[in-house]
Amino acid sequence: MAEIRIDNVSRRSFIKTMGLATGGLLLQGSFVFAGDDKNPQQISLNAFIRITQDNEVTLIVHQAEMGQGAQTTLPAILADELGANWDTVIIENGLTDPAFKNPKFNLQFTGNAESIRTFHDILRNTAASAREMLKQVAAKRWQVDSDSLRAENSYIVNQNGKKAPFGDFVEEAMKLEPPKEVTLKKPSEWKLTGNKSLPRVDVPAKVNGSAVFGIDVEIPKMLHAAIAMCPYFGGSIREIKENGVRKMSGFVALVRIPVVNPIFSNPPEHNKREGVAIVADTYWNARKCLDTLEISYDKGPNAEMDSESLHKIYEDTINGSTKWFESVKEGDAEAKIKDSKNTIKAQYYSAWQSHAPMEPMNATAHFKGDTIEVWAPTQGQEMAQILLAKEFGIPVEKIIVNRTYLGGGFGRRLLADYIYQAVFLSKEVGLPVKVLWTREDDMQHDFYRPGTMQEFQASLNDEGLPEAIYTKLVSPSILQVVANADYVFEGEGPSYPEGIKETPYHFENRLLHSYLLRIPPPSSVWRSTGFGTNVFALESFIDELASKKGEDPITFRKRYIADERSRGVLDAVAEASGWYTERKDGHFLGIALTHSFETFAAQVIEISIDDAGILDIHKITTAVDCGTVLDPGIASASIESGIVWGLTAALTSEINFKEGRTVESNFHDFKILGLPEFDIDIETVFINSGAKIGGVAESGPIPVAPALCNAIFAASGKRYRTLPLKNHNIYTRYMSDYVV
């Protein structure tokens, strides 16, 4: 069996650019994990920047690269401000470090569209600081004023053109105190960021098969594990028939794991499951051994639970006398609605969803007695440390979490359950272990985007305009499992009311009641977070109000928007989509607006739909105001990506439950959209309003479902309030349910 060594620390292979310009040289193939015997020549100016005396500039990326471009834009910000040569910088994945913590949460993680909007200024300041320190050394050496120097292409340059590489100054610079104040470059001086599309540094490795994902990690003497986890929420393993597994080729150990998912929950015992793993010399042998076992389960207390019984809980809650949490109270909506003779009410529901990233959950770990080392495709390096410290009693500083590329994250890889399993097994067998889930494991043991239900009730004045809005929201928690034991959400959690608690609109009388459901299926954060389902309900209802008034949806929205930036994106998307121009026969438009992750976005979808419910999507136009778009290429790819994500959930994918477990197990029943569906026009326009930079990665999916349903209403007069739409027999021509 061939050994692929990933940790040859002294050997660095620089990526060649395959004949095309890329930015930055990336350690590919032989993936060097930072902290692994790093080049002793490197001198750290701070946690993000290291420079050798040979003028090799290394920039540390502290956030996970999961397709959103963090590994390109974050170091580009550093390089831009530092004045480093982008073509020769080396980019390295960071470990955990206090400097990498997100200050809003005091935690290092990748998600919630945080990377740029939270770290932009931090990175600029860090790089400016390093630049000024280098300049200071040069200034002293050349006997000139520091202000007369500039940093360019990894050189300090004098006004008269004299220059010397950073490497000449770094040893002394390291000894300096970082300056208390730095002047940042003006956006007009930015060379790498700010409306500039850089070629992504990870793309070449991703087109030649050399990019190392978690599943690709190889550690010397590593063993492999396949795992079976009890699929019943609250169930248990009744019996394991070994069927001679211990004599099978490659068998090393059969290990029972009492709790495979020790993720924090409230109550703490909620849905903990047990499992059994086989450790073997190769993955395939582990798989065959595991398949030889006959495992029977006790279904446990939730054996009668299914999608219908769960849905009934939502309905009973929203329709019954529930002990609501008062999330928002402005004016007196309740009274106005009670007294009104003209009210409108609508209920909405979005189905449960699975993350289903293309790379199934996996992790490699080595339990070394008093230290632990992990290699994993993780969004939550620090969260993994915290969990492992708690479970294995090893201090956080002695736990190293190396981060590979992620084959999709979407929020699932914040959680460290599969990392815990790898460590558990490594401890058991005394060697490094890689645990790899099957697609079935991944889908059945997800922490799902929960289904959520909303009810909107509005009273209309004599002009038919809403004067009071009363909203009810019923949802399981989204962030409880992501938080640790310090944060127990009671009454209201932080994520599930997003998009419906603060909205882009201002209504004088507004009441929001929310209820946090505690039900068996595990739930967590999923790309678009609480916004995804709440904005579907809100933007559909706004459209229903507009229709009741008989007014154009954009004109109607403009009456109530609370921020000029909303107007900006509405106007921009109207222009780009031809909202006010005449359309082809049978073509109809729908619009949705969102203010999420500090970004304003409006989206228009142009469709046709026939009487049989066959949908043709023609064009999707999005206008995005994220303050300043640093890299339009990456940002528009992110919007395109979000469109597919949102459309899939709107049209066809859903998670169901039966007999106390998840029904769907692979892509044949958890149906996602394919390439033919996207033979459409996509146009994305960016507005650089100059406001604070907002996040883009989760904005793409959010307006899709309501824009689509609003378009379908415009086309057919039929209003659909529950997703996915396939349950209403609405299909695109390529969906498998559609037969010619």
Binding site: H668, K671, G674, P676, Y734, S736, D737, Y738, V739, V740
Partner: protein, 222 residues
């Protein structure tokens, strides 16, 4: 007979009238039944060979048709460009299509996924070429051999039409269904796929009987 025996007087009379009448009555009574010898009476009914054979043949055909319409057969005999799959015969997932040569679209050939044998790990069914056990035979029957949505008359007509069925005589059809590995697969599909519910030998017997009785198929108005 009993009637006739009741009254001796009458019997004598009837017997004396015309033996031909008796024969005629007997012929009518035993028309559709068996060519047996009722030795009690020493009487042989005359069977009308053509009608009986045709009826029997059609009966056999209907049993054959039941098998042909089973998901294991008809999923690869669609009347359009989409293979079907599953016991519920839904459209094959992932936009899999017929292609120009009944073997799948360019780069999405049937054999890209379907191998020469049922794959126990991926669950994907497969069957081998008759002359090469390592080569997959998976493909669609040509459109001319599409059976979905056809009634018995149409199905029968199509089955026998030599311009549409690959120039097969009824005997060729028998050989095909006896030996072709892809046909045989229908009885050993693996996974949770329902196999053809009657044993292959029994099916072959019915098929051969159909051919032996003239390979008749119902007409449109039958």
């Amino acid at each position: 007979m009993k009637l006739l025996l009741k009254s001796r007087n009458i019997i004598k009379q009837v017997y004396s009238i015309t033996p031909l009448v008796l024969v005629f009555v007997a012929a009518l009574a035993f028309n559709k039944v068996r060519k047996t010898n009722n030795s009690e009476s020493g009487y042989y009914p005359i069977a009308v060979k053509d009608t009986t054979e045709r009826e029997k043949s059609i009966q056999k055909f209907k049993e054959v048709a039941k098998v042909l319409r089973h998901p294991r057969c008809i999923n690869c005999h669609p009347s359009d460009n989409y293979p079907r799959q599953g016991d519920d015969m839904h459209k094959h997932l992932f936009n899999v299509q017929r292609g120009n040569d009944d073997r799948g679209a360019i780069v999405m050939k049937c054999i890209s996924c379907h191998g020469a044998s049922n794959n126990k790990y991926s669950g994907v069914p497969g069957a081998p070429e008759p002359d090469d056990p390592n080569k997959s035979r998976w493909h669609l029957a040509p459109l001319s051999m599409g059976w979905m949505g056809l009634n018995d008359a149409e199905l029968g007509k199509r089955l026998l039409n030599r311009e549409m069925n690959g120039n097969m005589s009824p005997e060729d059809l028998v050989k095909h269904m006896e030996e072709d590995p892809l046909v045989l697969w229908g009885w050993n599909p693996g996974g949770n796929r329902a196999p053809i519910p009657i044993p292959h030998e029994e099916f072959m017997e019915t098929l051969k009987e159909w051919v032996d009785t003239g390979a008749h198929v119902p007409k449109e108005d039958e």
